[in-house]
Protein backbone atom coordinates (compact mmCIF):
# COMPACT_ATOMS: atom_id res chain seq x y z
CA UNK A 1 0.00 0.00 0.00
CA UNK A 2 1.66 3.18 -1.24
CA UNK A 3 0.34 6.58 -0.18
CA UNK A 4 -0.64 9.18 -2.78
CA UNK A 5 2.63 9.98 -4.54
CA UNK A 6 4.06 13.38 -3.63
CA UNK A 7 7.30 13.01 -5.57
CA UNK A 8 7.39 10.96 -8.72
CA UNK A 9 10.59 10.46 -10.71
CA UNK A 10 10.16 8.69 -14.03
CA UNK A 11 12.93 7.35 -16.27
CA UNK A 12 15.27 10.12 -15.13
CA UNK A 13 18.67 10.52 -16.77
CA UNK A 14 21.45 12.92 -15.69
CA UNK A 15 24.81 13.65 -17.22
CA UNK A 16 27.95 15.49 -16.18
CA UNK A 17 29.26 16.21 -19.66
CA UNK A 18 29.82 12.77 -21.17
CA UNK A 19 29.53 10.98 -17.81
CA UNK A 20 26.14 9.42 -17.23
CA UNK A 21 25.41 9.66 -13.51
CA UNK A 22 21.77 8.53 -13.57
CA UNK A 23 20.23 6.10 -16.05
CA UNK A 24 16.50 5.46 -16.34
CA UNK A 25 15.76 6.02 -12.65
CA UNK A 26 12.13 5.74 -11.58
CA UNK A 27 10.87 6.06 -8.04
CA UNK A 28 8.05 7.52 -5.99
CA UNK A 29 7.79 9.01 -2.54
CA UNK A 30 4.30 8.97 -1.07
CA UNK A 31 2.78 11.79 0.96
CA UNK A 32 3.89 11.36 4.57
CA UNK A 33 6.29 8.52 3.80
CA UNK A 34 9.94 8.18 4.79
CA UNK A 35 11.68 6.70 1.78
CA UNK A 36 15.38 5.89 1.79
CA UNK A 37 17.84 5.71 -1.07
CA UNK A 38 20.93 3.65 -0.36
CA UNK A 39 23.92 2.97 -2.51
CA UNK A 40 27.70 2.96 -2.56
CA UNK A 41 30.06 5.84 -3.18
CA UNK A 42 29.46 7.43 -6.55
CA UNK A 43 26.20 5.55 -7.20
CA UNK A 44 24.45 8.81 -8.09
CA UNK A 45 22.49 9.51 -4.90
CA UNK A 46 23.52 13.15 -4.60
CA UNK A 47 22.94 13.66 -8.31
CA UNK A 48 19.36 12.45 -7.91
CA UNK A 49 18.71 14.92 -5.10
CA UNK A 50 20.31 17.71 -7.12
CA UNK A 51 18.00 16.91 -10.02
CA UNK A 52 14.94 16.91 -7.75
CA UNK A 53 16.01 20.31 -6.33
CA UNK A 54 16.60 21.69 -9.82
CA UNK A 55 20.30 22.48 -9.44
CA UNK A 56 21.19 19.74 -11.93
CA UNK A 57 19.37 19.49 -15.26
CA UNK A 58 17.72 16.24 -16.29
CA UNK A 59 18.87 14.84 -19.62
CA UNK A 60 15.93 12.45 -19.86
CA UNK A 61 12.73 11.60 -18.03
CA UNK A 62 10.46 13.65 -15.82
CA UNK A 63 10.03 14.79 -12.23
CA UNK A 64 6.52 15.34 -10.88
CA UNK A 65 5.73 16.99 -7.58
CA UNK A 66 2.19 16.70 -6.28
CA UNK A 67 1.10 15.75 -9.78
CA UNK A 68 2.73 18.79 -11.43
CA UNK A 69 5.61 18.43 -13.89
CA UNK A 70 8.56 20.33 -12.41
CA UNK A 71 11.31 18.88 -14.63
CA UNK A 72 12.39 22.28 -15.93
CA UNK A 73 11.21 24.49 -13.07
CA UNK A 74 13.84 26.88 -11.61
CA UNK A 75 15.37 25.81 -8.29
CA UNK A 76 13.98 28.74 -6.31
CA UNK A 77 10.44 27.97 -7.53
CA UNK A 78 10.80 24.40 -6.30
CA UNK A 79 11.83 25.67 -2.89
CA UNK A 80 8.64 27.73 -2.80
CA UNK A 81 6.67 24.54 -3.54
CA UNK A 82 8.23 23.04 -0.41
CA UNK A 83 10.96 20.86 -1.94
CA UNK A 84 13.77 21.44 0.55
CA UNK A 85 17.20 19.87 0.48
CA UNK A 86 19.70 19.56 3.30
CA UNK A 87 22.85 19.06 1.26
CA UNK A 88 25.68 16.62 1.73
CA UNK A 89 28.41 17.79 4.11
CA UNK A 90 26.15 20.25 6.00
CA UNK A 91 27.43 23.33 4.18
CA UNK A 92 26.39 25.89 6.76
CA UNK A 93 27.25 29.49 5.92
CA UNK A 94 30.28 29.60 8.21
CA UNK A 95 30.91 33.34 8.49
CA UNK A 96 27.25 34.13 9.18
CA UNK A 97 25.54 33.74 12.54
CA UNK A 98 23.43 30.72 13.44
CA UNK A 99 20.34 32.91 13.38
CA UNK A 100 21.19 34.37 9.96
CA UNK A 101 21.61 30.82 8.64
CA UNK A 102 18.17 30.00 9.96
CA UNK A 103 16.38 33.11 8.73
CA UNK A 104 17.97 32.66 5.30
CA UNK A 105 16.66 29.09 5.41
CA UNK A 106 13.24 30.72 5.48
CA UNK A 107 14.09 32.97 2.53
CA UNK A 108 11.15 31.59 0.53
CA UNK A 109 8.67 32.30 3.33
CA UNK A 110 7.08 35.49 4.64
CA UNK A 111 8.51 37.45 7.55
CA UNK A 112 5.68 36.31 9.83
CA UNK A 113 6.15 32.66 8.86
CA UNK A 114 9.89 32.94 9.49
CA UNK A 115 9.35 34.43 12.97
CA UNK A 116 6.89 31.65 13.78
CA UNK A 117 8.99 28.79 12.46
CA UNK A 118 12.09 30.18 14.18
CA UNK A 119 10.40 29.78 17.57
CA UNK A 120 9.44 26.18 16.75
CA UNK A 121 12.92 25.37 15.48
CA UNK A 122 14.56 26.87 18.58
CA UNK A 123 12.22 24.79 20.74
CA UNK A 124 13.34 21.69 18.83
CA UNK A 125 17.05 22.60 18.90
CA UNK A 126 17.74 24.46 22.15
CA UNK A 127 21.48 24.44 21.52
CA UNK A 128 20.97 26.54 18.38
CA UNK A 129 19.03 29.08 20.39
CA UNK A 130 21.87 29.27 22.90
CA UNK A 131 24.41 29.86 20.15
CA UNK A 132 22.27 31.93 17.81
CA UNK A 133 24.58 34.94 17.79
CA UNK A 134 27.72 32.94 17.03
CA UNK A 135 29.26 32.26 13.62
CA UNK A 136 27.95 28.97 12.27
CA UNK A 137 31.47 27.94 11.30
CA UNK A 138 32.61 27.54 14.92
CA UNK A 139 29.87 25.04 15.85
CA UNK A 140 30.88 21.39 16.31
CA UNK A 141 30.19 18.94 13.50
CA UNK A 142 27.08 17.59 15.19
CA UNK A 143 25.74 21.07 15.86
CA UNK A 144 26.41 22.04 12.26
CA UNK A 145 24.38 19.05 11.08
CA UNK A 146 21.56 20.10 13.42
CA UNK A 147 21.81 23.61 12.03
CA UNK A 148 21.67 22.30 8.45
CA UNK A 149 18.51 20.34 9.24
CA UNK A 150 17.00 23.22 11.20
CA UNK A 151 17.76 25.55 8.29
CA UNK A 152 15.86 23.17 6.03
CA UNK A 153 12.89 23.14 8.42
CA UNK A 154 12.79 26.94 8.33
CA UNK A 155 11.56 26.66 4.74
CA UNK A 156 8.53 24.63 5.92
CA UNK A 157 9.23 21.61 3.75
CA UNK A 158 6.53 19.48 2.23
CA UNK A 159 9.28 17.07 1.31
CA UNK A 160 12.66 17.10 3.05
CA UNK A 161 15.56 15.74 1.01
CA UNK A 162 18.34 14.68 3.37
CA UNK A 163 21.74 13.88 1.87
CA UNK A 164 23.77 11.67 4.22
CA UNK A 165 22.89 13.39 7.50
CA UNK A 166 24.92 10.80 9.43
CA UNK A 167 28.15 11.47 7.57
CA UNK A 168 31.12 12.09 9.84
CA UNK A 169 29.11 11.97 13.08
CA UNK A 170 29.70 9.84 16.16
CA UNK A 171 27.06 7.15 16.89
CA UNK A 172 25.49 9.23 19.67
CA UNK A 173 25.11 12.22 17.39
CA UNK A 174 23.77 10.02 14.60
CA UNK A 175 21.04 8.82 16.98
CA UNK A 176 20.25 12.40 17.86
CA UNK A 177 19.97 13.40 14.21
CA UNK A 178 17.72 10.45 13.44
CA UNK A 179 15.50 11.28 16.41
CA UNK A 180 14.91 14.70 14.87
CA UNK A 181 14.18 13.10 11.52
CA UNK A 182 11.67 10.72 13.13
CA UNK A 183 10.02 13.62 14.96
CA UNK A 184 9.69 15.48 11.70
CA UNK A 185 8.09 12.47 10.05
CA UNK A 186 5.67 12.15 12.97
CA UNK A 187 4.57 15.71 12.24
CA UNK A 188 3.62 14.66 8.73
CA UNK A 189 6.62 15.84 6.71
CA UNK A 190 7.50 13.60 3.80
CA UNK A 191 11.14 12.57 3.90
CA UNK A 192 13.49 11.29 1.22
CA UNK A 193 16.64 10.11 2.93
CA UNK A 194 19.91 9.38 1.16
CA UNK A 195 22.39 7.31 3.16
CA UNK A 196 25.55 5.30 2.76
CA UNK A 197 24.79 3.92 6.21
CA UNK A 198 22.33 1.40 4.78
CA UNK A 199 21.50 -0.39 8.05
CA UNK A 200 20.41 2.82 9.70
CA UNK A 201 18.46 4.05 6.69
CA UNK A 202 16.64 0.76 6.15
CA UNK A 203 15.73 0.61 9.85
CA UNK A 204 13.85 3.90 9.79
CA UNK A 205 12.46 3.82 6.24
CA UNK A 206 8.96 2.79 5.24
CA UNK A 207 10.33 1.88 1.83
CA UNK A 208 13.72 2.06 0.20
CA UNK A 209 15.48 1.96 -3.15
CA UNK A 210 18.94 0.63 -3.86
CA UNK A 211 20.94 2.59 -6.42
CA UNK A 212 23.94 1.08 -8.15
CA UNK A 213 25.98 2.84 -10.84
CA UNK A 214 23.14 5.22 -11.65
CA UNK A 215 20.39 2.57 -11.82
CA UNK A 216 17.74 1.45 -9.35
CA UNK A 217 18.42 -2.25 -8.85
CA UNK A 218 16.05 -3.03 -5.96
CA UNK A 219 13.11 -1.54 -4.15
CA UNK A 220 11.04 -2.84 -1.27
CA UNK A 221 10.06 -2.03 2.30
CA UNK A 222 12.96 -1.16 4.56
CA UNK A 223 12.56 -4.33 6.61
CA UNK A 224 12.41 -6.58 3.56
CA UNK A 225 15.56 -5.06 2.10
CA UNK A 226 17.39 -5.54 5.38
CA UNK A 227 16.93 -9.29 5.00
CA UNK A 228 17.60 -9.34 1.26
CA UNK A 229 20.69 -11.49 0.62
CA UNK A 230 22.13 -9.15 -2.01
CA UNK A 231 21.70 -6.09 0.18
CA UNK A 232 23.15 -7.90 3.17
CA UNK A 233 26.25 -8.83 1.22
CA UNK A 234 26.83 -5.57 -0.58
CA UNK A 235 25.66 -2.89 1.84
CA UNK A 236 25.28 -4.27 5.32
CA UNK A 237 28.61 -6.07 5.43
CA UNK A 238 26.91 -9.25 6.67
Amino acid sequence: MIARPLLQVTRLGCHYGPIQALDDVSLTVGDGELVALVGANGAGKTTLLRAVSGVQPASAGAILFDGVDITTLAAERRVRLGIIQVPEGRQVLGPMTVEDNLTLGGYSRTRAEVADTLEQVYAMFPVLKERRGQAAGILSGGQQQMLAIARGLMARPRILLLDEPSMGLSPILVDEVFEKVAAQKAQGTTIFLVEQNAFLALSVADRAYVLEAGKVILSDTGEALKTNEKVKAAYLGL
Binding site: S53, G54, V55, A74, A75, E76, V79, R80, I84, Q85, P87, Q91, L93, G94, P95, M96, D100, T103, L104, G105, Y107, S108, R151, A155
Partner: protein, 305 residues
Protein backbone atom coordinates in the same frame (compact mmCIF):
# COMPACT_ATOMS: atom_id res chain seq x y z
CA UNK B 1 69.15 86.83 16.10
CA UNK B 2 65.36 86.14 16.11
CA UNK B 3 65.57 85.33 12.43
CA UNK B 4 66.68 81.75 12.71
CA UNK B 5 63.90 80.27 14.89
CA UNK B 6 61.33 82.24 12.92
CA UNK B 7 62.73 80.78 9.74
CA UNK B 8 62.59 77.27 11.19
CA UNK B 9 59.03 77.84 12.33
CA UNK B 10 58.07 79.03 8.89
CA UNK B 11 59.78 76.02 7.35
CA UNK B 12 57.97 73.60 9.65
CA UNK B 13 54.61 75.19 8.92
CA UNK B 14 55.10 75.11 5.21
CA UNK B 15 56.30 71.50 5.31
CA UNK B 16 53.20 70.58 7.30
CA UNK B 17 50.95 72.55 4.98
CA UNK B 18 52.47 70.82 2.01
CA UNK B 19 51.96 67.42 3.62
CA UNK B 20 48.33 68.27 4.44
CA UNK B 21 47.80 69.39 0.87
CA UNK B 22 49.03 66.05 -0.49
CA UNK B 23 46.97 64.19 2.11
CA UNK B 24 43.77 66.03 1.13
CA UNK B 25 44.21 65.26 -2.52
CA UNK B 26 45.22 61.66 -1.75
CA UNK B 27 42.19 60.98 0.43
CA UNK B 28 39.89 62.57 -2.15
CA UNK B 29 41.12 60.54 -5.07
CA UNK B 30 41.49 57.50 -2.76
CA UNK B 31 37.80 57.71 -1.88
CA UNK B 32 36.88 57.41 -5.55
CA UNK B 33 39.23 54.42 -5.92
CA UNK B 34 37.48 52.96 -2.90
CA UNK B 35 34.08 53.30 -4.57
CA UNK B 36 35.35 51.69 -7.76
CA UNK B 37 37.11 48.98 -5.73
CA UNK B 38 33.88 48.25 -3.86
CA UNK B 39 32.23 47.61 -7.21
CA UNK B 40 34.93 45.06 -8.06
CA UNK B 41 34.45 43.38 -4.68
CA UNK B 42 30.67 43.14 -4.97
CA UNK B 43 30.68 41.57 -8.44
CA UNK B 44 33.56 39.28 -7.48
CA UNK B 45 31.59 38.07 -4.47
CA UNK B 46 28.49 37.33 -6.49
CA UNK B 47 30.23 35.54 -9.34
CA UNK B 48 34.02 35.38 -8.89
CA UNK B 49 34.20 37.51 -12.01
CA UNK B 50 36.57 40.47 -12.09
CA UNK B 51 34.58 43.04 -14.00
CA UNK B 52 37.08 45.04 -16.02
CA UNK B 53 34.27 47.25 -17.32
CA UNK B 54 34.05 48.76 -13.82
CA UNK B 55 35.99 51.88 -14.86
CA UNK B 56 33.57 52.51 -17.73
CA UNK B 57 30.79 53.05 -15.20
CA UNK B 58 32.79 56.02 -13.91
CA UNK B 59 33.13 57.36 -17.43
CA UNK B 60 29.48 56.84 -18.43
CA UNK B 61 28.15 58.76 -15.45
CA UNK B 62 30.62 61.62 -15.94
CA UNK B 63 29.90 61.93 -19.67
CA UNK B 64 26.14 61.58 -19.16
CA UNK B 65 26.25 64.43 -16.66
CA UNK B 66 27.98 66.60 -19.25
CA UNK B 67 25.29 65.87 -21.85
CA UNK B 68 22.39 66.29 -19.44
CA UNK B 69 23.75 69.66 -18.30
CA UNK B 70 24.19 70.67 -21.93
CA UNK B 71 20.49 70.14 -22.61
CA UNK B 72 19.72 72.47 -19.72
CA UNK B 73 18.96 70.19 -16.81
CA UNK B 74 19.67 71.47 -13.31
CA UNK B 75 22.80 69.91 -11.78
CA UNK B 76 21.13 67.71 -9.12
CA UNK B 77 18.72 66.24 -11.68
CA UNK B 78 21.54 65.64 -14.14
CA UNK B 79 23.61 63.87 -11.48
CA UNK B 80 20.76 61.59 -10.42
CA UNK B 81 19.85 60.75 -14.01
CA UNK B 82 23.50 60.06 -14.84
CA UNK B 83 23.68 57.53 -12.02
CA UNK B 84 20.40 56.00 -13.22
CA UNK B 85 21.67 55.68 -16.81
CA UNK B 86 24.85 54.00 -15.59
CA UNK B 87 22.92 51.50 -13.49
CA UNK B 88 20.83 50.61 -16.55
CA UNK B 89 24.04 50.07 -18.54
CA UNK B 90 25.47 47.91 -15.72
CA UNK B 91 22.39 45.69 -15.53
CA UNK B 92 22.26 45.46 -19.34
CA UNK B 93 25.92 44.44 -19.38
CA UNK B 94 25.09 41.56 -17.06
CA UNK B 95 21.93 40.56 -18.95
CA UNK B 96 23.31 40.66 -22.48
CA UNK B 97 27.03 39.92 -22.08
CA UNK B 98 27.59 37.96 -18.86
CA UNK B 99 24.34 36.05 -18.34
CA UNK B 100 24.34 34.32 -21.76
CA UNK B 101 27.81 32.96 -20.95
CA UNK B 102 26.86 32.05 -17.38
CA UNK B 103 28.15 28.49 -17.69
CA UNK B 104 31.46 29.46 -19.26
CA UNK B 105 34.64 29.53 -17.18
CA UNK B 106 35.44 32.51 -15.00
CA UNK B 107 38.34 33.41 -17.32
CA UNK B 108 35.95 33.59 -20.28
CA UNK B 109 33.63 35.84 -18.29
CA UNK B 110 36.52 38.12 -17.39
CA UNK B 111 37.51 38.36 -21.05
CA UNK B 112 33.90 39.23 -21.86
CA UNK B 113 34.06 42.15 -19.40
CA UNK B 114 37.28 43.36 -21.03
CA UNK B 115 35.55 43.22 -24.41
CA UNK B 116 32.56 45.06 -22.97
CA UNK B 117 34.81 47.82 -21.62
CA UNK B 118 36.42 48.32 -25.03
CA UNK B 119 32.96 48.42 -26.61
CA UNK B 120 31.64 50.94 -24.09
CA UNK B 121 34.66 53.18 -24.54
CA UNK B 122 34.27 53.04 -28.32
CA UNK B 123 30.57 53.81 -28.09
CA UNK B 124 31.36 56.75 -25.81
CA UNK B 125 33.83 58.18 -28.35
CA UNK B 126 31.17 57.90 -31.06
CA UNK B 127 28.54 59.59 -28.90
CA UNK B 128 30.64 62.25 -27.18
CA UNK B 129 33.80 62.61 -29.23
CA UNK B 130 37.28 62.53 -27.71
CA UNK B 131 37.19 65.91 -26.04
CA UNK B 132 37.75 66.62 -22.39
CA UNK B 133 34.77 68.10 -20.53
CA UNK B 134 34.40 69.77 -17.20
CA UNK B 135 31.51 69.57 -14.78
CA UNK B 136 30.81 72.35 -12.26
CA UNK B 137 31.52 71.63 -8.60
CA UNK B 138 28.43 70.79 -6.51
CA UNK B 139 28.78 73.75 -4.17
CA UNK B 140 31.25 76.35 -5.30
CA UNK B 141 34.99 76.10 -5.76
CA UNK B 142 36.22 78.50 -3.07
CA UNK B 143 38.82 76.42 -1.20
CA UNK B 144 38.69 76.08 2.56
CA UNK B 145 42.09 76.72 4.15
CA UNK B 146 43.05 74.22 6.84
CA UNK B 147 46.54 74.38 8.36
CA UNK B 148 47.74 76.32 5.35
CA UNK B 149 46.46 73.70 2.89
CA UNK B 150 43.56 74.25 0.52
CA UNK B 151 40.64 71.84 0.67
CA UNK B 152 38.12 72.04 -2.16
CA UNK B 153 34.45 71.88 -1.19
CA UNK B 154 34.14 69.13 -3.84
CA UNK B 155 36.64 67.06 -1.84
CA UNK B 156 34.26 67.25 1.09
CA UNK B 157 31.48 66.01 -1.19
CA UNK B 158 33.64 63.09 -2.33
CA UNK B 159 34.65 62.09 1.19
CA UNK B 160 31.20 62.69 2.68
CA UNK B 161 29.41 60.71 -0.03
CA UNK B 162 31.88 57.85 0.33
CA UNK B 163 31.24 57.71 4.08
CA UNK B 164 27.48 57.66 3.46
CA UNK B 165 27.91 54.86 0.91
CA UNK B 166 29.95 52.81 3.36
CA UNK B 167 27.33 53.18 6.08
CA UNK B 168 24.53 52.34 3.63
CA UNK B 169 26.34 49.24 2.40
CA UNK B 170 27.00 48.03 5.94
CA UNK B 171 23.30 48.38 6.64
CA UNK B 172 22.36 46.65 3.38
CA UNK B 173 24.61 43.62 3.90
CA UNK B 174 24.14 43.42 7.66
CA UNK B 175 20.43 44.10 8.06
CA UNK B 176 18.40 43.49 4.93
CA UNK B 177 17.11 40.19 3.59
CA UNK B 178 18.38 40.89 0.08
CA UNK B 179 21.79 41.96 1.35
CA UNK B 180 22.12 38.78 3.38
CA UNK B 181 20.99 36.75 0.37
CA UNK B 182 23.84 38.37 -1.59
CA UNK B 183 26.31 37.42 1.12
CA UNK B 184 24.93 33.86 1.24
CA UNK B 185 25.37 33.60 -2.53
CA UNK B 186 28.98 34.70 -2.22
CA UNK B 187 29.74 32.18 0.53
CA UNK B 188 28.01 29.22 -1.10
CA UNK B 189 26.03 29.59 -4.33
CA UNK B 190 24.69 26.04 -4.20
CA UNK B 191 23.30 26.44 -0.69
CA UNK B 192 21.89 29.82 -1.68
CA UNK B 193 19.94 28.19 -4.49
CA UNK B 194 18.75 25.41 -2.21
CA UNK B 195 17.42 28.09 0.16
CA UNK B 196 15.33 29.53 -2.66
CA UNK B 197 17.55 32.49 -3.49
CA UNK B 198 17.40 33.43 -7.16
CA UNK B 199 21.14 33.66 -7.77
CA UNK B 200 20.66 35.01 -11.31
CA UNK B 201 18.82 37.96 -9.82
CA UNK B 202 21.61 38.38 -7.26
CA UNK B 203 24.12 38.55 -10.12
CA UNK B 204 22.08 41.26 -11.88
CA UNK B 205 21.78 43.11 -8.63
CA UNK B 206 25.53 42.98 -8.06
CA UNK B 207 26.16 44.53 -11.48
CA UNK B 208 23.54 47.20 -10.77
CA UNK B 209 25.08 47.97 -7.39
CA UNK B 210 28.63 48.03 -8.78
CA UNK B 211 27.50 50.33 -11.59
CA UNK B 212 25.90 52.63 -9.05
CA UNK B 213 29.13 52.82 -7.02
CA UNK B 214 31.20 53.47 -10.15
CA UNK B 215 28.68 56.11 -11.24
CA UNK B 216 28.89 57.84 -7.87
CA UNK B 217 32.67 57.93 -8.17
CA UNK B 218 32.24 59.37 -11.66
CA UNK B 219 29.93 62.24 -10.76
CA UNK B 220 31.88 63.06 -7.59
CA UNK B 221 35.29 63.25 -9.22
CA UNK B 222 34.26 64.84 -12.54
CA UNK B 223 34.39 68.41 -11.17
CA UNK B 224 37.96 67.84 -9.90
CA UNK B 225 39.52 65.88 -12.75
CA UNK B 226 38.04 66.38 -16.19
CA UNK B 227 35.90 63.72 -17.81
CA UNK B 228 36.51 62.10 -21.23
CA UNK B 229 35.77 58.74 -22.88
CA UNK B 230 38.91 57.00 -21.65
CA UNK B 231 38.82 58.43 -18.12
CA UNK B 232 37.64 55.03 -16.86
CA UNK B 233 40.77 53.15 -17.86
CA UNK B 234 43.03 54.49 -15.13
CA UNK B 235 40.27 54.80 -12.54
CA UNK B 236 39.27 51.20 -13.25
CA UNK B 237 42.82 49.97 -12.81
CA UNK B 238 43.33 51.94 -9.59
CA UNK B 239 40.03 50.62 -8.27
CA UNK B 240 41.13 47.10 -9.15
CA UNK B 241 44.37 47.79 -7.32
CA UNK B 242 42.38 48.93 -4.28
CA UNK B 243 40.27 45.78 -4.41
CA UNK B 244 43.17 43.33 -4.59
CA UNK B 245 45.15 45.28 -2.00
CA UNK B 246 42.20 44.90 0.36
CA UNK B 247 41.80 41.22 -0.48
CA UNK B 248 39.46 40.57 -3.42
CA UNK B 249 35.90 40.24 -2.23
CA UNK B 250 36.48 42.05 1.05
CA UNK B 251 34.45 45.28 0.77
CA UNK B 252 35.94 47.01 3.78
CA UNK B 253 39.39 45.99 2.56
CA UNK B 254 38.66 47.62 -0.80
CA UNK B 255 37.88 50.89 0.96
CA UNK B 256 41.13 50.88 2.91
CA UNK B 257 42.94 49.74 -0.22
CA UNK B 258 41.52 52.72 -2.12
CA UNK B 259 42.70 55.17 0.51
CA UNK B 260 46.16 53.61 0.61
CA UNK B 261 46.52 53.78 -3.18
CA UNK B 262 45.20 57.35 -3.32
CA UNK B 263 47.42 58.66 -0.54
CA UNK B 264 50.58 56.89 -1.77
CA UNK B 265 49.92 58.25 -5.22
CA UNK B 266 49.49 61.82 -3.98
CA UNK B 267 52.63 61.59 -1.82
CA UNK B 268 54.65 60.21 -4.71
CA UNK B 269 53.40 62.93 -7.02
CA UNK B 270 54.08 65.61 -4.42
CA UNK B 271 57.45 64.57 -3.05
CA UNK B 272 58.98 62.76 -6.00
CA UNK B 273 57.42 63.58 -9.33
CA UNK B 274 53.94 63.44 -10.78
CA UNK B 275 55.49 61.45 -13.63
CA UNK B 276 55.60 58.46 -11.28
CA UNK B 277 52.06 58.92 -9.98
CA UNK B 278 50.41 56.20 -12.05
CA UNK B 279 53.30 53.82 -11.52
CA UNK B 280 52.45 53.58 -7.82
CA UNK B 281 49.28 51.60 -8.48
CA UNK B 282 51.09 49.19 -10.78
CA UNK B 283 53.87 48.64 -8.29
CA UNK B 284 51.25 47.92 -5.64
CA UNK B 285 49.43 45.46 -7.93
CA UNK B 286 52.68 43.61 -8.66
CA UNK B 287 53.78 43.50 -5.03
CA UNK B 288 50.37 42.28 -3.87
CA UNK B 289 50.05 39.63 -6.57
CA UNK B 290 53.53 38.29 -5.98
CA UNK B 291 53.94 38.63 -2.22
CA UNK B 292 50.49 38.79 -0.61
CA UNK B 293 48.02 37.27 -3.06
CA UNK B 294 45.21 37.41 -0.52
CA UNK B 295 45.67 41.14 0.02
CA UNK B 296 46.26 42.97 3.28
CA UNK B 297 42.87 42.18 4.77
CA UNK B 298 41.91 39.04 2.90
CA UNK B 299 41.35 35.86 4.86
CA UNK B 300 42.04 32.70 2.91
CA UNK B 301 41.66 32.45 -0.84
CA UNK B 302 38.13 31.38 -1.68
CA UNK B 303 37.66 28.65 -4.22
CA UNK B 304 34.80 28.70 -6.62
CA UNK B 305 32.32 25.96 -5.77
Amino acid sequence: MAGKPLFLQWLLISVLAEFLQFLFSGVTIGATYALVGLGFAIIYNASHVINFAQGEFVMISGMSTVSLLAVGMPLPVALLLAVGITVVVGVALEKFAVEPARNASVVTLIIITIGASIFLRGAAEVIWGRDFHSVPAFSGSEPIIIGGAALLPQSLWVIGATVVVIIALRWFFGRTRTGKAMLATSYNPLVARLMGINTRFILSLSFGLAAMLGALAGILIAPISLTYPSVGVMLGLKGFCAAILGGLGNPMGAILGGLIVGVSEAMTAGYISSAYKDAVAFVIILVVLVMIPNGLFGVKGTERV
